[in-house]
């Protein structure tokens, strides 16, 4: 912090604790066209991007480094301390980052994910059955949205079925577990440790008995060769990145549709267009963007950016929510949800070298998870208005605490 940061205004989010309330004045930010400086709740100041152009330029500029650690500006006091893990790609930069990222990228390519369609349907059907067996009313976040992405990731990694249940439990606790368990602040750290032990076991198994899966491929990597520690870090990274985000987005999209019967009718009327509708829902509201969170960038040297001097050591938070309401991205009524929009490249999955590696997987999961719940339970109803749903401060920023629903 420098002396002139004394006057920096606090970031205008989190009006009511426990509820997700974005009060970022997105359109006003957009019109200003300049970087805005805010004080984050953890006492760290940082600039925020306000346009799509800023967003793309900051995320493409090698002078800004991605760096994940507790001293970065955070929209909440983060409950999950991300340990310093080798192989954790959101903290890597430059050619080293690309080399490690590419070791996993084949398994998340458009075509590889397309081939997973039947597997995703199978996992979704399993949790539809479990939800139905629990009976109405139920917390749909816990019974349905939360377990699906981690089970799919376990499949991609090649976690054997003997380890799946333990993996699922550890995955759940890395983000603090379910609400009734959140009183235990040590739970996430313990879960990370459990995951470490479990993955170490799986890595040993794969070295002895290679299979057609990602962990086996990582054990055989040559450019670069990965240590067991790096494989563990990368796998933990893939789990964390694809677990809480997709779960919460699925729940968020279901909640929006439950809240807006007109939009739900439109969504379900044209199954061929569901992938486009999912894109608009991702643009309109997504967990990371809506909370004003992101992975901040650290200036590695002084940078003159559109008349603002960003000093070496200062942070810039890329704001996808502001980018997604920019007229260059979304020209008409950008703050409204409109399923009829022509598909366009929104910025919810980021930009630059760290662009979401799992974005095709997230889309493939959402386009099954969201419509299938309405197929199974045609008169599904929410127990709460979308604006009243409880949110928790969690790993990436926020996640839905529960989604209570009923059906007849």
């Amino acid at each position: 912090m420098t002396m002139h940061d004394v006057d920096v205004k606090p970031i205008p989010i989190r009006k009511n604790p426990g509820r997700l309330e974005t009060r970022l004045p997105l359109e006003e930010m957009n019109r200003s066209g300049t970087l805005m400086k805010f004080m984050y709740p953890n006492g760290v100041p940082g600039y925020m991007t306000t346009t799509a152009d800023h967003f793309r330029r900051i995320l493409s500029d090698p002078r800004f480094h991605a760096k994940r650690f507790l001293g970065e500006p955070q929209p909440t006091p983060v409950s999950v301390a991300v340990p310093d893990m080798p192989g954790f790609i959101p903290s890597m930069n430059g050619p080293d980052h690309l080399a490690v990222r590419r070791l996993a990228a084949g398994d998340f390519s458009v075509k590889h994910i397309r081939d997973l369609g039947a597997k995703i349907e199978q996992v979704v059907d399993k949790y539809l059955d479990e939800t139905e067996a629990m009976g109405s009313p139920v917390d749909l976040f816990a019974s349905y949205c939360l377990p699906i992405p981690s089970e799919v990731i376990a499949w991609i990694l090649g976690v054997p079925t003997t380890h799946t249940q333990e993996f699922q439990m550890a995955a759940r606790y890395t983000i603090g577990g379910l609400p009734e368990k959140l009183t235990d602040p040590e739970a996430p750290a313990r879960a990370i440790k459990t995951l470490h032990e479990l993955l170490a076991d799986v890595i040993t198994l794969k070295r002895k008995d290679p299979q057609d899966d990602l962990i086996t491929r990582l054990t055989k990597a040559t450019d670069p060769v990965l240590s067991d520690e790096e494989i563990w870090g990368l796998c933990t990274n893939l789990l964390l990145a694809g677990h809480e985000t997709t779960s919460t987005n699925a729940a968020y999209q279901i909640a929006i549709l439950l809240d807006r019967p007109d939009v739900k009718a439109e969504f379900l009327a044209d199954p061929d267009r569901i992938p486009d509708f999912i894109e608009e829902l991702l643009r309109f509201k997504a967990i990371l963007t809506d909370s004003g969170a992101g992975i901040p960038r650290l200036a590695t040297e002084d940078v003159e950016f559109d008349g603002v001097l960003i000093e070496k050591g200062e942070w810039v938070m890329p704001c996808a929510a502001a980018a997604n309401v920019d007229a260059s991205v979304c020209p008409h009524s950008p703050t409204e949800l409109d399923l009829d929009r022509t598909p366009f490249p929104h910025l919810t999955f980021g930009f630059g070298a760290h662009t979401c590696l799992g974005q095709h997987l997230a889309r493939a999961e959402l386009k099954v998870i969201v419509p299938k719940i309405f197929e199974r339970f045609p008169n599904l109803a929410s127990e709460m208005a979308v604006d009243d749903l409880p949110w928790l401060e969690s790993g990436f920023g926020y996640r839905m605490a529960e989604l209570p629903v009923r059906w007849k």
């Binding site: 995320l59 050619p95 998340f108 390519s109 458009v110 590889h112 490249p345």
Partner: protein
């Protein structure tokens, strides 16, 4: 069309934009150029790929080598 493989971050946007021109390597997800001189009918999709690529991997140049975008 110029492709800088060293910058490719394997995000797959080019394949989504212009599947007749670009593919992703099955091994590491990076860009594969299927058609170095695509027909004019592909130009709008190629341009979309250029704009969507998060790592500015693809650029267009005219015959004398001047970069167009």
């Amino acid at each position: 069309m110029l492709v800088d493989y060293s910058k490719c971050t394997a995000a797959g946007q080019c394949l989504l934009a212009a599947p007749n021109v670009f593919d992703q390597s099955a091994e590491n997800g990076t860009i594969v150029l299927l058609d170095e001189a695509p027909p004019e009918s592909e130009y709008p999709r190629v341009l979309d790929a250029v704009n969507r690529c998060p790592a500015s991997v693809i650029s267009l140049a005219n015959e004398s080598g001047t970069t167009l975008r």
